[in-house]
């Protein structure tokens, strides 16, 4: 049955990358607990608009937890308090009347703020450009069943491939490391026979790019795994390191 709550919001407002930002306080009353978190912000924005104020900028698109576009730090936690949940899939039933909710953008050197809660994550694209693919052109592929792949391996690759590129791992890491994101992509391909031929080169290129883009190092804090909305396992980082190490040893490819 529907129920409504009243909450206080402290939201980070920042006009653009060049100016300083700060928290503003808003009161949202009569919020249905069946609303998603983003629908709650919609409601606040409708009111701000009618009041002649600038609505809060925030990225979002699918609102189904799959595009990876949404994300903010809610009460200190990337994507909010629910495990395995993106911000768009977080519902207000997890909050209570009278709560104060603090909402901030991802904070990382590699993700500059565009406006309010929206940040620039194009660094992730650059990591993929560095080697996040299998080099096949359209047209020449053999029959799809030519190489059997055990169900176990396929499932493991799928676990890694489920990453939505949201950036929560970077935002929740004390060092703003992109290891979970990068490790997931490297693992997906390293696990599959199709991806083996380039596995070493790929790991080398992607890891180097990551360093170049000002992402920090992994300090084994495991915050990323805890906050990842797709529950990507930290074992992917170990696999990446193994591939990277192997690549380093085979100096011919360096």
């Amino acid at each position: 049955m529907t129920k409504n709550i009243d909450i206080t919001l402290k939201i980070w407002r920042q006009k653009n990358a060049d100016v300083k930002g700060g928290f503003e306080t808003y009161h949202a009353s009569n919020i249905s607990i069946d609303m998603s978190f983003l629908e709650m912000i919609d409601v606040v924005n409708e009111q701000l608009t009618l009041d002649g104020k600038d609505p809060i900028a925030f990225d979002h698109d699918c609102r189904e937890g799959i595009c990876g576009m949404c994300g903010a730090v809610v009460n200190g936690r990337a994507h909010g308090p629910e495990k395995g949940t993106t911000l768009c899939q977080l519902h207000m039933r997890h909050f209570s009347s009278g709560d104060t909710i603090v909402i901030e953008p991802w904070r990382a050197k590699a993700f500059p703020i565009i406006k309010d809660l929206a940040v620039d994550r194009s660094a992730f694209d650059q990591i993929i450009v560095a080697g996040g693919y299998i080099s096949v052109n359209t047209g020449g592929a053999p029959d799809a069943n030519a190489i059997p792949i055990s169900q176990e391996i396929a499932e493991k690759a799928m676990d890694a491939a489920a990453c939505i590129g949201c950036g929560a791992c970077v935002a929740s890491c004390p060092n703003a490391s992109a290891m979970l994101f990068t490790g997931a992509k490297i693992s997906q391909f390293a696990l599959l026979p199709q991806g083996r031929p380039e596995a070493a080169l790929r790991a080398l290129a992607m890891v180097r790019k990551m360093d170049e883009l000002c992402f920090g190092n992994c300090g084994n804090e495991r915050e990323c795994e805890v906050e990842c909305p797709k529950e990507i396992s930290i074992s992917n980082i170990a696999r990446m390191n193994r591939e990277f190490f192997k690549a380093g040893l085979g100096s011919a490819v360096m």
């Binding site: 069946d34 409708e46 699918c62 519902h91 994550r121 299998i134 359209t138 792949i149």
Partner: protein
């Protein structure tokens, strides 16, 4: 004007080979000289941009999201079809072709659909080579599932995230070409106009969504893959940014809009629960493989589902359609759900829902098997509704989901404007009046990986084009028009938010132009839309400025276009005086309440030409000729 679909002559199964042979080839050394604009990075746009760059063309690729990987294709759950016949259950290219033609209620072009079925197998091969982790059997071979409208198991899938995996595959291929220097990405750009010079598409004008700058880009050809317009209904399963603006602007520049009234209502979505709701969530159709749809036999029965005994449940799809049962096509499933609710048998708080029950499947296969197949969907359902589908049946209701209508294209996927190619959901070509599940992903990738790489070459060497730069007056005019319109939006300064008006538009369409339509209702809708459009331009409130990251302005531009486009949709629905597939006019139905076609008078594509803001659009008909299949009354009994 007679529309020429340029369908190659000869037997159906030889057409594509013959055509590929006859198309002129571009000298490999010359390919780099050609600039191609691809708008959209979904399955269609991403695969096209990557494949064209692999051939050596220089590609500029645009999208509205912050990264090409976030195109709306990412949200597709269920799967992708191919005629591999790996299950040995009687599938073939011909059967996939036939099912698609029949599913579309005989309102698609035979030649296009046959080509789609032919290339479907290559898609799966290519995607596996790209490292897409499709579901597999214990023996290591690919696994399949069934989808609505088919009696064979031909759908390939990656858990409930097939669209995501296919898109990430295309995205990887695209990024590889970015690395090679052949693709330049332009994310966070919204196409606001098409530039036509000497009757040829020569470029686009976009808004940089971060700075607000209006940018011009010239090219030898423009490939639009901007997705569908289901958001004209306000609530839909599409992503928030899905829009009609790009295709509608092209329409206003002379491209014909085909069959806008063919809009698909998907039967299995999470029901609406409040006015604040911003979108509807699809529960993949694959769930109908194992879930059984039912309502209580007695209208108004409000007992919780578990207290309603078997004998008092009506498994209405299984009863009415014994051979397809829960796997009837979408339009049939949706209309039947609505009919049950109209009889007062709907369930849940609002009465606008039916049950989708997994109890028997769990009993038969065990919870683990069901969890492996649908785990993430069940989880998503529980997150949204706080109800556990392993224990209580899901509640579902139809929602606006997909559009078969789109810009008119010929066999080469080129619109009536030379140099403008349209692919994926943005064109009208392959699904007739109703799309079967798992066929949109197939079409998007067929268009991008396997059709455009051939057909664009034929155009580029086959037609002379003058040298053109963005200094051409046509670009200046387009920039001027776009800027004026933005300024106009920002200066309305009224009292209603854009979302509020959009919501009202959605109500009008859902009520009068949704799952069933009538002439009276459509006339009413047209008037209401005109009034609402008037109100928008007088009373909308669009805050902020143009030189800024201004999401309200973005939405306002899209809604302004929806308000114009909605009228075209209603006009098209009104003119099609028959029922076919998803277009159901109450006045035309069989005794069994199925869509009743009028093949004598409406076996054509309706392609609309823009004639000015205050002039009615002009209808052009492309007759559909069926040489290989017999037109029958669809039956799924």
């Amino acid at each position: 004007m007679q529309l020429d679909a340029k369908i190659p002559s000869g037997p159906l199964s030889d057409k594509w080979d013959k055509h590929r042979f006859e198309l002129k080839l571009v000298n490999p050394a010359n390919k780099r000289k050609y600039n191609i604009i691809v708008v959209g990075t979904g399955l269609a746009g991403g695969s096209a941009a990557a494949s064209l760059a692999e051939l050596g063309y220089y590609v500029k690729n645009f999208c509205v999201q912050d990264s090409p990987r976030r195109a709306h294709s990412i949200a597709a759950q269920g799967g992708i079809n191919a005629a591999k016949n790996y299950q040995n259950d009687g599938d073939s290219i011909w059967r996939l072709f036939y099912d698609t033609i029949k599913g579309g209620d005989f309102r698609a072009r035979e030649a296009n659909v046959h080509r789609l079925a032919q290339v479907s197998n290559h898609i799966i091969d290519h995607c596996v080579a790209q490292g897409i982790p499709f579901a597999r059997e214990y023996g290591g071979l690919l696994s399949n599932r069934s989808f609505g409208g088919a009696q064979v198991s031909r759908t390939f899938y990656a858990r409930g995230q097939t669209g995501q995996q296919l898109l990430l595959g295309a995205y990887s291929a695209l990024m590889r070409q970015v690395a090679a220097g052949l693709v330049t990405l332009f994310p966070r750009r919204e196409m606001l106009d098409l530039v036509v010079i000497n009757g040829q598409a020569r470029g686009i004008v976009v808004r940089n969504m971060i700075t607000g700058e209006i940018e011009s880009h010239a090219a030898d050809a423009v490939v639009m893959c901007t997705g569908g317009y289901a958001n004209v209904f306000y609530l839909s399963t599409n992503a928030m940014a899905s829009n009609v603006s790009a295709t509608f602007r092209a329409y206003k520049k002379g491209a014909f809009f085909a069959n806008p009234c063919y809009t698909q209502i998907h039967p299995t979505c999470i029901p609406v629960h409040g006015t604040y709701q911003s979108k509807l969530t699809l529960m993949s159709e694959s769930l109908r493989n194992d879930g059984r749809v039912w309502v209580p036999k007695t209208p108004g029965d409000k007992r919780p589902p578990n207290q309603i005994p078997e004998s008092e449940r009506d498994y209405y799809l299984e009863n009415k359609y014994p051979s397809f049962g829960n796997l009837v096509p979408r339009d049939v499933a949706s209309r039947n759900a609505k009919a049950q609710c109209d009889l007062g048998k709907g369930v849940g708080e609002t009465g606008f829902a039916v049950y989708l029950d997994f109890k028997d499947a769990i009993k038969r296969d065990g919870k683990d098997v069901i969890a492996q197949k649908y785990g993430n969907l069940f989880q998503m359902y529980e997150k949204i509704t706080a109800s556990n589908p392993y224990e209580a049946p899901m509640m579902i209701y139809p929602a606006s989901h997909y559009v078969m209508g789109g810009l008119w294209v010929d066999y080469n996927l080129m619109s009536n404007l030379p140099g403008l190619f349209v692919m994926g959901e943005a064109n009208f070509s392959d699904h007739g009046a109703n799309r079967l599940g798992a066929s949109a992903l197939m079409q998007g990738l067929a268009d991008g990986y396997f059709v455009i790489p051939y057909t664009i070459g034929g155009y580029l060497v086959g037609m002379d084009r003058p040298e053109v730069t963005t200094d051409h007056p046509a670009f200046k005019d387009a920039v001027h028009y776009v800027t004026e319109r933005i300024n106009k939006l920002l200066s309305i300064n009224g009292k209603r938010t854009v979302d509020d008006i959009h919501r009202q538009l959605g109500h009008i369409l859902w009520e009068y132009c949704g799952m069933s339509r009538s002439e009276e209702g459509l006339l009413k809708a047209r008037k209401l839309i005109q009034e609402l459009r008037g109100e928008f331009w007088e009373n909308a409130l669009v805050p902020g400025s143009s030189e800024d990251f201004n999401q309200s302005l973005e939405r306002a531009g899209r809604v302004a276009d929806f308000l114009e486009f909605a009228e075209l949709l209603v006009i098209d629905a009104f003119e099609r005086k028959e029922s076919c597939g998803a277009h159901f006019n109450d006045a035309y139905q069989t005794e069994e309440n199925e869509a009743k076609r009028d093949d004598e008078n409406f076996c054509h594509v309706a392609a609309w030409e823009y004639k000015g803001d205050d002039t009615a659009p002009e209808l052009h008909k492309e007759p559909l000729v069926f040489e290989n299949v017999e037109l029958t009354q669809r039956s799924y009994k």
